[in-house]
């Protein structure tokens, strides 16, 4: 609150009053201004009229004075008299400088001047002059203003002497109007002035302006009035010669054609408005002061009780709940204060009960905290001893005894068919020794037995005096009275019991029982943890062992000995025996193959394979034989075992057979110097090792077999190729002779051949050639397969190669009516490779294309792509089905045997081509659509280096 509310009130009040006053003043000023302006304009206009009247009356007075002299009969008076009258007139009217009397005919009769000699009866004819004409016509005539020596304003006026008389013409010095003009008062600083019809100043309070011939037309108000003399030019704001803003009004004197202006400084004209403004300002300031005072007073009346309330509320808020506010304003504030008081009272009351509750809650929290701490301590112990249950049980017993106000606590765990002591707290060691010897079984006799039997919490209120309690001896020994047993349960089984005793009689409360249950659960969790941890560790060790054996197997595919050593080692480490060996079956004997251990063993010795030995029995029965104690064996059945055991001081045995396809190839044997059973886990593990040993032995056997087989195959293949090569050569030589001689016969070298024989000769020739081609191909292939084909590297030109192929196949294509073309761009680089072989490939592809195309064209295209030549043979033939496209590059394969048979061919061409291209480090591919044609594409490096092994 502070000063805030107070200020707000005052500001609001002052602001309101200010706004009202400002609006009022503004409106007032506006109307006063308008009113004043209107009034000023009216006044100005009136003053202008009045000034015009005064100016005019000045002239009219002169006219009247002249008129007094200028009577009709006056002209008949003697000249001296007339002259005297004129002199008198001049004396009466100082402004008249000169008087001239004209007779009826307009002739000058008399001239009286202040400056010149008087002239009598000059008779000068002035009848045509404007003064005479004007005065005769209108009785009086006013001439325009003229300026003597360009400076002093003068005017000529003429007055007629009645109807029949002459005319008096007078020159009037208008400087005399100054007396009139300067006496016209217009406000304080206002003034009047007279302007002639040409805009030249005639009269002004400052005579200098008149004498200087000031042109008033440059003032806008004068120019406007002159421009529209008939119109009533409105009064308005303007400026005067000094550049001061004035309110100007004017009136005209029609007879003289003069304009009389009246001007007053705008500032003066607006003085009332300014005064009003100042008054309004004073009023505003006064209003503000009053408003501020009133606002402060009101705000004070408002703020004082609120402050009192604030102070009271602060005291209540700071905890002084008994404080009460006393505000007697009789309005809402008092009601508010009372409300505060009621709230404080209610608060005081509820505060009292709250304290009690807080106390209770604090105690509860304290207990809860202790429990939490104890639980957390147990959990910490659990986490710190994952492998040992002992410390956990110790701390559970400790905590249970402490929290439940028990004198002693003990935990019993089920082990070997009974509940035995596991941990205890606060129990005398002598008593512990007694309890340690006890083995409780489920039953109503003991507390542990009763708890185990019922599987629930059992409480005995006063053990020494309970007739049903069977072990009063124990209770008396420990001095215990109230007993409680809590079962430790896992999946419904009671795996232990926790017992707490008090040396006085007091039942354990429900709350204590709840806590004990939680502790029991924690103990179970700890036991569980330890079990799981142990199992996990063992499982991990087995995995590691198995993995180790497998690793050894994978590392020695050809030698069985390391594997057997690894198996023996693993069995020793993980199967609970210090001595392990492997015995292999060899026909009717058993052979000690591998041994590791401290006990004597004769590696390499043989014993007969029969059921009298443990290993023999295991191998023959194809099952694991477990002998926990040799001494317990039947001597009639186990003669050899007993004999050997005596020799080597063996007491327990375990033999796992190594089984393969229904038969055993040997055994893995574990021996121990003392009697004792192997666990099922150890047995299972040994069986696994045995199986791994079998795999290893099998592996080695298979590997050896495969190696031998493949060597044999290789030799056979080489023989075949060599044979084929030899055979082809041997076949070709006689065939060449056949073809040669047939040709000579057909050419008639050996005399005429009958026509029938000619046809036969041709067929012999054709078949011979075909056979030769076949043999050549087989020879090539066999050379390649035998690794005998060597590329003859040389430089070649693709363009030349294509040209050679085209010229060789051109006649064939022409015979079939096919178009044979090529697209080889100029500037292809020179390649390196076996030109003859590559030409053979291209020739084969083009030949095939022509062969398998009945209509259309065959085209050879060459291009250079990424350092390789790309040679394509494109035809419009039958095409090759997708499933056949891979096969055609294999030996002796043709697409669709029926159709290709007609076309001939060995089915070796593409296979040879592929090998040749691959020898160059390239590849050959085909793209084809059935019915549309095929494109064979050969890609070879421009600079090929022979890859000899490619063919193999």
């Amino acid at each position: 609150m502070k000063r805030g509310l107070f200020l707000k009130y005052v500001v609001l009040f002052v602001g309101l009053v200010t706004a009202v006053l400002v609006i009022n003043v503004a409106l007032d000023l506006y109307f006063v201004y308008q009113e004043n302006r209107r009034a000023s304009i009216e006044v100005q206009q009136e003053k202008a009229e009045a000034a015009a009247q005064r100016i005019e009356s000045f002239v009219r007075e002169i006219e009247r004075q002249i008129g007094w002299v200028a009577q009709a009969q006056w002209a008949d008076l003697p000249v001296d008299q007339r002259r005297f009258d004129y002199v008198r007139l001049q004396r009466q009217v100082p402004a008249i400088t000169e008087l001239i009397q004209l007779d009826r005919q307009g002739r000058e009769q008399l001239k009286v001047s202040r400056l010149n000699m008087d002239v009598v009866g000059s008779g000068t004819d002035l009848s045509k002059e404007p003064p005479f004409v004007g005065a005769i016509a209108d009785g009086v005539w006013f001439g325009p203003v003229y300026f003597r020596k360009e400076s002093e304003p003068y005017m000529t006026m003429a007055v007629a002497h009645g109807r029949r008389g002459g005319v008096t013409v007078a020159d009037v010095n208008l400087k005399f109007i100054w007396d009139v003009v300067s006496q016209i008062k217009v406000g304080k600083d206002g003034y009047a002035y007279v302007v002639g019809p040409q805009g030249r100043l005639v009269a002004h309070p400052d005579i200098s302006l008149v004498l200087r011939g000031t042109d008033m037309k440059r003032l806008p108000q004068v120019a406007a009035a002159l421009a529209a003399p008939d119109k009533d030019v409105p009064v308005g704001d303007s400026i005067n010669l000094a550049g001061v803003s004035v309110l100007s009004a004017h009136a005209d004197i029609p007879a003289l054609k003069w304009l009389v202006f009246v001007e007053v400084p705008t500032r003066e004209a607006q003085q009332p408005v300014i005064n009003t403004g100042l008054r309004a300002l004073a009023l505003l300031v006064l209003g503000l002061l009053i408003a501020a005072g009133a606002g402060a007073l009101l705000a004070r009346r408002m703020v004082v009780p609120i402050r009192a309330m604030q102070a009271g509320a602060e005291r209540i808020g700071s905890g002084e709940l008994s404080h009460r506010l006393t505000i007697k304003t009789g309005d809402e504030l008092e009601a508010l204060a009372n409300q505060f008081n009621r709230s404080a009272a209610a608060l005081e009351e509820s505060y009292a009960t709250l304290e009690q509750r807080v106390e209770d809650r604090t105690r509860e929290l304290q207990e809860s905290l202790e429990q939490q701490t104890a639980t957390a301590g147990i959990l910490r112990v659990i986490s710190q001893s994952p492998t040992d249950v002992e410390p956990v049980l110790q701390s559970v017993a400790d905590a249970a005894a402490g929290l439940c106000r028990a004198d002693e606590a003990a935990v019993f765990l089920f082990k070997d068919g009974a509940y035995r002591w596991a941990a205890s707290a606060h129990i005398a060691s002598t008593y512990v020794d007694v309890v340690k010897g006890e083995a409780f079984t489920p039953g109503n006799d003991s507390l542990v037995g009763r708890t185990a039997l019922q599987g629930t919490v059992v409480q005995i209120e006063d053990a020494p005096n309970d007739p049903e309690y069977g072990r009063r001896d124990l209770a008396q020994l420990g001095g215990a009275h109230t007993l409680i047993g809590i079962p430790l349960q896992r999946e419904g089984d009671t795996i232990g019991v926790m017992v707490l005793t008090r040396r006085y009689v007091e039942r354990f409360s429900d709350q204590h029982i709840e806590i004990l249950k939680v502790f029991a659960d924690q103990a179970v969790i700890a036991i569980q943890n330890v079990r799981l941890f142990t199992e996990l560790r063992e499982s991990l060790e087995q995995q590691t062992a198995t993995a180790e054996v497998l690793r050894v197997i994978s590392q020695s595919p050809t030698d069985v000995q390391p594997v057997l050593r690894a198996v023996v080692g693993a069995a020793r480490r993980f199967c609970g025996a210090d001595d392990a060996m492997i015995v292999l079956c060899d026909n009717d004997d058993q052979l000690m193959a591998t041994h590791e251990g401290s006990m004597p063993a004769l590696v390499g010795t043989r014993i007969p394979l029969d059921r009298s030995s443990t290993t023999g029995r295991a191998a023959l029965d194809r099952q694991t034989i477990h002998v926990p104690d040799v001494a317990l064996l039947d001597p009639s059945e186990h003669a050899q075992t007993i004999e050997l055991a005596e020799k080597t001081k063996v007491r327990a045995l375990l033999a796992a057979p190594m089984l393969r396809e229904g038969g055993a190839i040997g055994c893995v044997l574990l021996r121990k110097p003392e009697a004792g059973a192997f666990t099922s886990r150890q047995i299972g593990l040994l069986e696994t090792f045995a199986a791994q040993a079998v795999i290893a032995i099998e592996n080695v056997r298979l590997f050896t077999e495969i190696q031998e087989k493949s060597h044999q195959l290789e030799v056979a293949s080489q023989h075949k190729s060599q044979f084929l090569a030899n055979m082809s050569h041997e076949l070709r030589t006689p065939l060449n002779a056949i073809i040669g001689y047939t040709e000579m016969m057909a050419d008639g070298l050996y005399g005429d051949v009958p026509e029938k024989a000619t046809a036969v000769l041709e067929r012999v020739q054709a078949n011979g050639r075909h056979l030769l081609g076949l043999i050549n191909d087989v020879l090539d292939l066999s050379k390649i397969e035998a690794g005998q084909l060597v590329l003859a590297m040389e430089e070649y030109s693709v363009a030349d190669m294509v040209a050679t192929v085209l010229s060789a196949t051109e006649s064939l294509a022409r015979t079939k009516g096919l178009t044979l073309g090529s697209d080889v761009p100029a500037g292809l680089p020179t390649g390196t490779g076996d030109a003859r072989r590559l030409t053979q490939v291209l020739l084969n592809l083009v030949g095939n294309a022509i062969k398998f195309t009945d209509r259309g064209s065959v085209e050879v295209r060459a291009a250079e792509v990424d350092g390789r030549f790309e040679l394509s043979v494109v035809d419009t033939g039958f095409g090759i089905a997708p499933e056949d496209q891979a096969k055609i590059f294999e030996e002796f394969q043709q697409v669709d045997n029926t159709s290709t048979r007609k076309k001939g061919g060995t089915g070796l061409g593409l296979s040879i081509s592929r090998r040749i291209v691959e020898l160059h480090g390239g590849r050959i591919t085909v793209e084809s659509d059935v019915g549309k044609g095929s494109t064979f594409k050969v890609t070879v490096p421009i600079n090929a280096s022979a890859i000899k092994e490619a063919a193999q």
Partner: protein, 319 residues
């Protein structure tokens, strides 16, 4: 103690500042001795007083210089050293003062025509650093002769005595001659080159048979008026002139502007120029009120009976 001093110093500063602001000094240069020009100087001071704003004072330093143009220039220089803001040149002092080209404006009371004298471009806009009143002393000559004719109906020979150094005089003399010739009057012009020469020139004019002597009003002539009047009256020849003072000195009549009014107006000019008006654009004014002064004593001495109509015209009759 100190405080009082401070107040005293502050007060003094205030007073001196006000005095400095209020008092302005102007110079007055007249070619006539103080005795003769006294009444006009008084009129001038009255005009000055009438136009001085309340609280202001204007101090006038008088210089009566009877010497030539050099003396005038010297007076001008002296006055400027005295710190005058303006110089008033009276009568014959006008031309030398204006021609001395003082650094301050000049307001003159000049009997001649300032445009003809070359110290103003026109009456409406003088154009230079001088302005003031022109007395129309010469223009009224025909009217004066007209008045002589009325007073002495038989008079046919009139002598005109002029100060040969008066600007614009020749024009006026020519105009006067043209005017009087039509009225059948013979006009003889007599020029006096300097005051010492005047009595002999007057003597010559009288010897030539002049029936009346018109003295052109100018400062030197006014100073010698008494002597001229006595010289003429001894021969029964009336003297006519322009300034009332000459009538008082025994001339039959004078007709001219009311010099008192004119000098008052000079005071107005001074204040106007001191108030900031530029002489170049402050029009030269001419008198509007003329006065006829008749010396009846002189008429009686001469044995004249003046017509009533003339007397009726008179603004002042000296009995």
């Amino acid at each position: 103690m100190k405080r009082r001093e401070l107040i005293a110093i502050g007060g003094a500063a205030l007073v001196s500042a006000r005095a400095h602001a209020a008092e302005r000094v102007v110079g007055w240069i007249s070619p006539e001795p103080r005795e003769t020009i006294g009444p006009f100087f008084k009129a001038f001071q009255a005009g000055l007083q009438a136009n001085t704003p309340a609280g202001d004072t204007v101090r006038v330093i008088e210089r009566h210089v009877t010497g030539g143009p050099e003396a005038m220039s010297q007076a001008v220089a002296e006055l400027q050293k005295e710190g005058v803001k303006l110089i008033v040149a009276q009568g014959a002092a006008t031309l030398p003062v204006v021609r001395a080209k003082p650094a301050v404006p000049v307001v003159f009371a000049y009997s001649g025509d300032p445009v003809v004298a070359g110290i103003a471009q026109s009456f409406a806009r003088p154009g230079g650093d001088a302005t003031g009143m022109s007395f129309m002393s010469l223009e009224l000559n025909p009217k004066r002769i007209d008045l002589v004719r009325i007073a002495l109906p038989e008079c046919r020979k009139v002598a005109l005595l002029s100060n040969a150094r008066h600007a614009g005089e020749e024009n006026e003399i020519t105009a006067t001659q043209r005017a009087v010739e039509r009225a059948g009057i013979e006009l003889a012009v007599w020029r006096s080159q300097n005051p010492a020469e005047t009595p002999s020139v007057v003597g010559q004019a009288l010897d030539a048979g002049a029936q009346a002597l018109v003295v052109l009003p100018s400062s030197p002539m006014v100073q010698q008026a008494s002597a001229i009047v006595s010289q003429c009256l001894a021969r029964k020849v009336p003297v006519v002139s322009g300034w009332a003072s000459v009538a008082r000195a025994g001339a039959l009549l004078t007709y001219g502007p009311n010099l008192n009014e004119t000098y008052k107006r000079v005071g107005w000019f001074v204040m106007r120029v001191l108030g900031g008006a530029q002489p170049a654009s402050l029009p030269i004014e001419q008198p509007t009120v003329f006065e006829l002064v008749i010396n009846k004593k002189t008429a009686n001495t001469l044995g004249l009976t003046l017509p009533v109509s003339l007397l009726a015209q008179a603004d002042e009759v000296i009995e």
